[in-house]
């Protein structure tokens, strides 16, 4: 866990002290210890990714298809390009984030490819090729973010624009002719039959920026001015108003779109950022109570919510299992996980394709089947490490906006993992969300790579700041 107190690299600060001049020119000539570590880890990550694809081919095809290996190698080149960009524009960025994200993305592609093999899909229409292309696009976006945003405080200026953008993005799927409904949730946009995109994924970044900016601006009036009621402090409506409006709009839009997972994600993000900014635990408790109350009411009144709860609580019941929209997928996912056991069947040797949507919502069950409990633990450890690196920014950061944004973005990834994997393993009702970096889905990949880029940028800023003590 990110509990360390002195995150700045000591070698780096001492170097700066001995050479008081700063600037890009100077930095270029320092030994880039962090970047070298990153390079070393990246090579390992890319080797694992390549090995995963080869294992899938050996396991499922019984031979090696070199064309796809070359395709994957192209992706590695892009990742190394990002690494070089970091060497130039963010030398002090966290060295673990990029290798972790590369590894998760690569394992995801290997598993999506494995499902393609099972479904006899290849070429441009296959999910793995699409995922690879989307990955390339996502990495390009990450590079662009790093190049354009040289200092994260620029984003602070665009607080309200970000809030507005989030709402617009969320509303897009409801525009006639643009929105697309996929398996009951109207959260997609597309033009013609081409390139569907889930704007809600990008909206979560915009929302995090808005929440961070707004809370930093108004935290004092939020926590100081107001009334006490029932032993709890309530802020003035004019302080809380704008954020409530944005939040309520987002939530209602999502509920209108039948996308429970995203609703839960945004709600969690909102509560955590509010708590971090204001330190009011009572609000979090109140918010959670409201959410649980609302969820219970919704589960009784809204049929699609009720169905999710029934599937969750009574999954093994034959009637629930056989019902349309019943627990078939959930139970098949559990069967797949059980089949994997402790060490898994080995890549390409299980039957993850039995479970519906094994390459997106259920990629965790697919990975659990073929890599076993050991593999899932490794993946969870990667996520935990990624989130910890984000939290580290929060602990080490100097400006509140950066701290809040870094933690918010990291928390979104953590919560998203919990909602998806918890749904698959029956901790909570199953809701449709993508597993960050792993699952097939272009919008999710782009959004998560942008999150990674923002965290890289934030971590670089944090380490470059003079450690000022007033």
């Amino acid at each position: 866990m990110p509990a360390t107190s002195n995150p700045a690299a000591p070698a780096d600060t001492s170097a700066r002290r001995s050479q008081p001049r700063t600037g890009a020119f100077k930095r270029l000539h320092l030994p880039q210890k962090l970047r070298n570590l990153e390079l070393f880890l990246l090579i390992i990550a890319c080797a694992i990714n390549g090995a995963a694809v080869v294992l899938v081919q050996l396991g499922a095809l019984g031979r090696i298809d070199t064309s796809l290996v070359l395709f994957g190698a192209g992706l590695s080149v892009l990742v190394f390009a990002l690494h070089i960009v970091l060497r130039i524009v963010a030398t002090q960025a966290d060295p673990f984030i990029l290798p972790i994200v590369t590894l998760l993305n690569g394992i995801g592609i290997a598993m999506i490819y494995r499902i393609d093999v099972a479904n006899h899909q290849s070429g441009i229409d296959s999910a793995s090729v699409r995922q690879t292309i989307w990955s390339a696009l996502a990495i390009a976006c990450a590079i662009a973010v790093l190049l354009v945003i040289r200092n994260h405080r620029v984003l602070f200026r665009y607080t309200y624009i970000a809030g507005f953008a989030a709402v617009v993005l969320l509303l897009l799927p409801l525009v006639p002719g643009l929105g697309r409904e996929v398996s009951g949730a109207r959260v997609w946009i597309g033009i013609g039959s081409f390139a569907t995109f889930q704007p809600g994924e990008i909206a979560k970044i915009a929302l995090a920026i808005f929440f961070a900016g707004y809370l930093v601006r108004n935290r004092d009036s939020l926590s100081m001015v107001g009334k006490r009621f029932l032993g709890m402090h309530f802020p003035r409506l004019r302080d809380l108003g704008p954020i409530l409006v944005v939040w309520a709009l987002s939530m209602s839009v999502i509920i209108f779109q039948h996308d429970l997972g995203t609703a839960l994600l945004y709600f969690g993000l909102f509560l955590v950022m509010l708590y971090l900014a204001t330190a009011r635990l009572s609000w979090v408790i109140l918010g959670l109570a409201l959410f649980i109350g609302g969820a219970v009411i919704a589960s009784q009144t809204l049929s699609y919510v009720n169905g999710r709860f029934t599937n969750w609580l009574d999954a093994m019941n034959p009637d629930v299992y056989a019902a349309p929209g019943g627990s078939y997928q959930l139970v098949q996912g559990l069967f797949g996980l059980a089949k994997g056991g402790l060490i898994g069947t080995g890549l390409g040797q299980g039957r993850p394709d039995i479970t519906p949507v094994p390459q997106s919502d259920y990629i965790i069950a697919s990975l659990g089947e073929e890599l076993g409990l050991a593999g899932l633990f490794a993946i969870l450890a990667l996520y935990l490490l990624f989130v910890a690196r984000g939290f580290r920014i929060g602990f080490a950061g100097q400006d509140d906006f950066g701290k809040l944004l870094g933690v918010g973005l990291a928390f979104v990834v953590a919560l998203q993992c919990f909602i998806v994997i918890g749904g698959v393993t029956r901790i909570i009702p199953l809701t449709g969300l993508t597993t960050p970096f792993l699952a097939a889905g272009g919008s999710s990949l782009v959004a998560n790579w942008i999150i990674a880029a923002l965290l890289l940028r934030l971590s670089d800023t944090v380490r470059n700041q003079p450690r000022l003590v007033v």
């Binding site: 866990m1 990110p2 509990a3 955590v272 708590y275 971090l276 900014a277 330190a279 093994m316 299992y321 139970v331 559990l334 069967f335 797949g336 996980l337 059980a338 089949k339 994997g340 056991g341 402790l342 299980g350 039957r351 394709d353 039995i354 659990g368 076993g372 409990l373 899932l376 633990f377 969870l380 996520y383 935990l384 989130v387 939290f391 929060g394 602990f395 509140d400 701290k403 809040l404 933690v407 928390f411 953590a414 919560l415 993992c417 919990f418 994997i421 918890g422 393993t425 029956r426 901790i427």
Partner: protein
């Protein structure tokens, strides 16, 4: 802010601990229960993953697993499916296998105890596990001859080797094509299966060893004759009163001979003549004299009232208990509640042919490992010494007379002495008869025992009789196997 940050970190840590716990619970603790769930198709597919062994007839596979590119990896393919369906059975993707596929499932999938070390070594060497092949006793010539001779009739033919009990032919009609039930399409299998179930002719029945059992009628007279001769009180020359009708004691029921007259001429009739002409009244009289207990003991020595594993389980043929005198009289010519499978009647004939020793009927010669080395070979096994060699010899002569100069004349073959007995059993007032023939050839040195069952009166209602329809089938099959 850092105090709050620590708390949020703790929450995140708890979320991940929850995930680690839940995946452990599912993948480690619940895994066995989930694998055992009937809806777990992964478990089902796994059972198909093994290259199932072939079922061989004369060294050639009649059922084998062919690699295919789908979830099941192998498609079970039955060459000449309908012909061998009573032997092989079938293995569906969504239900239980039947026939040898069922009885020898462990051997075919390589999970029997005798294959334990092969399995162990395949784990170590990394070879894909394979099941054992099963070599059957079926003679393709006999099987094909029986199939052809039965034509479109509903019924069954069983040919065995009297000295060993090896089953050379086992045909049941109407049949089905096991290939249609082995396809990898759940819906299609269910539809085909349901259509076969709904078919009034019950093509899924293996009438040789089961189905709706039939009364044996006059072929059961062999058992009663054996009981009489073995009692020492009777010889073939023992005589019985010879009326044209017999009112059963304690009943108003009247028994007649199939000729509606007396059994041959004269006031009395010998046991030999009664069997040769297949008369009912002398056997009813004999049955009353012997009593049901003596007949039951002989029937049970032949194998009635118990099942046989060939290794498929043969339905129990029945000689009922607690009979009154009228019922005993009716049972003595195979009516009332007496029921028999063709396999049971094949045991009766084969026992007489084998000098009174009943050999256990058996369909499997050997189990072969994937490298064709025999894992198990089956030896001929004695079930019981049922009758003395003298009684057997006497009965053989009586049965030869029945074919040469009696009620089973249509089984005659030029140059070969055929021993045989026909049966025409009543199923109820207006229902079609069940027709039988059981016998063996050559009488001096029996090589083949045969039993023919024809249901539904062979399409002739109550006009068909054993010698008209069943005996010619036996004759054709015996000719085919003797010529070979």
């Amino acid at each position: 802010m850092n105090r709050e940050l620590k708390r949020v970190s703790l929450v995140v840590l708890l979320m991940f601990i929850a995930l680690l716990t839940s995946t452990t619970v599912v993948q480690a603790f619940q895994a066995d229960n989930l694998a055992a769930d009937a809806r777990n198709t992964r478990t089902l597919y796994d059972s198909f993953q093994v290259e199932r062994g072939a079922i061989l007839v004369d060294g050639k596979p009649v059922a084998e697993s062919v690699p295919v590119d789908d979830d099941y990896k192998f498609l079970r393919t039955y060459s000449n499916g309908p012909l061998y369906a009573p032997v092989t059975g079938f293995i569906p993707i969504n239900g239980s296998p039947t026939g040898l596929e069922h009885s020898l499932n462990a051997e075919l999938t390589g999970t029997s105890n005798s294959q334990f070390f092969d399995k162990l070594s395949s784990i170590i060497t990394g070879q894909k596990p394979r099941g054992a092949a099963v070599g059957t006793t079926i003679d393709p010539v006999a099987q094909q001859a029986a199939w052809d001779a039965l034509g479109d009739l509903t019924g069954a033919v069983v040919v065995t080797e009297p000295k060993t009990g090896r089953i050379l032919a086992m045909v049941s009609k109407p049949g089905y094509d096991p290939n249609t039930l082995a396809v990898h399409d759940n819906k299609q299998v269910t539809e085909t299966y349901q259509a076969l179930l709904d078919d009034p002719k019950d093509p899924l029945f293996n009438r040789a060893i089961g189905g709706d059992l039939n009364p044996p009628g006059s072929v059961f007279k062999l058992v009663v004759t054996a009981a009489a001769l073995e009692s020492g009180k009777y010889t073939p020359e023992s005589t019985f009163p010879n009326p044209a009708a017999l009112t059963l004691p304690g009943s108003t029921a009247v028994v007649t001979n199939s000729s509606r007259g007396t059994c041959g001429g004269g006031a009395t009739v010998t046991l030999a003549t009664a069997l040769r002409l297949s008369c009912n009244i002398p056997f009813a009289e004999l049955g009353l004299q012997l009593g049901d207990e003596a007949i039951r003991q002989m029937a049970e020595k032949f194998g009635f009232n118990s099942t046989h594993a060939i290794p498929m389980s043969v339905a129990e043929s029945v000689y009922p208990r607690n009979l009154d005198k009228a019922q005993t009289a009716l049972s003595a010519f195979g009516q009332y509640d007496v029921r028999a499978t063709p396999m049971q009647m094949a045991i009766v004939s084969a026992t007489i042919a084998n000098g009174g020793v009943a050999m256990a009927p058996n369909l499997v010669d050997e189990i072969l490992a994937p490298n064709l080395s025999p894992l198990e070979s089956f030896q001929a096994k004695e079930m019981a010494t049922v009758i003395s060699p003298e009684t057997a010899a006497t009965m053989t002569q009586m049965m030869v007379n029945g074919v040469n100069d009696g009620a089973a004349s249509n089984a005659r073959i030029d140059g070969v002495d055929v021993a045989g007995k026909t049966g025409t059993a009543q199923n109820g007032k207006d229902l079609p008869y069940t027709l039988w023939f059981t016998g063996f050839a050559p009488a001096e040195d029996p090589q083949f025992a045969i039993t023919v069952l024809i249901e539904d009166g062979g399409g002739l209602g109550q006009a068909g009789y054993g010698n008209l329809l069943a005996a010619p089938v036996a004759q054709k099959v015996l000719e085919a196997v003797l010529e070979k």
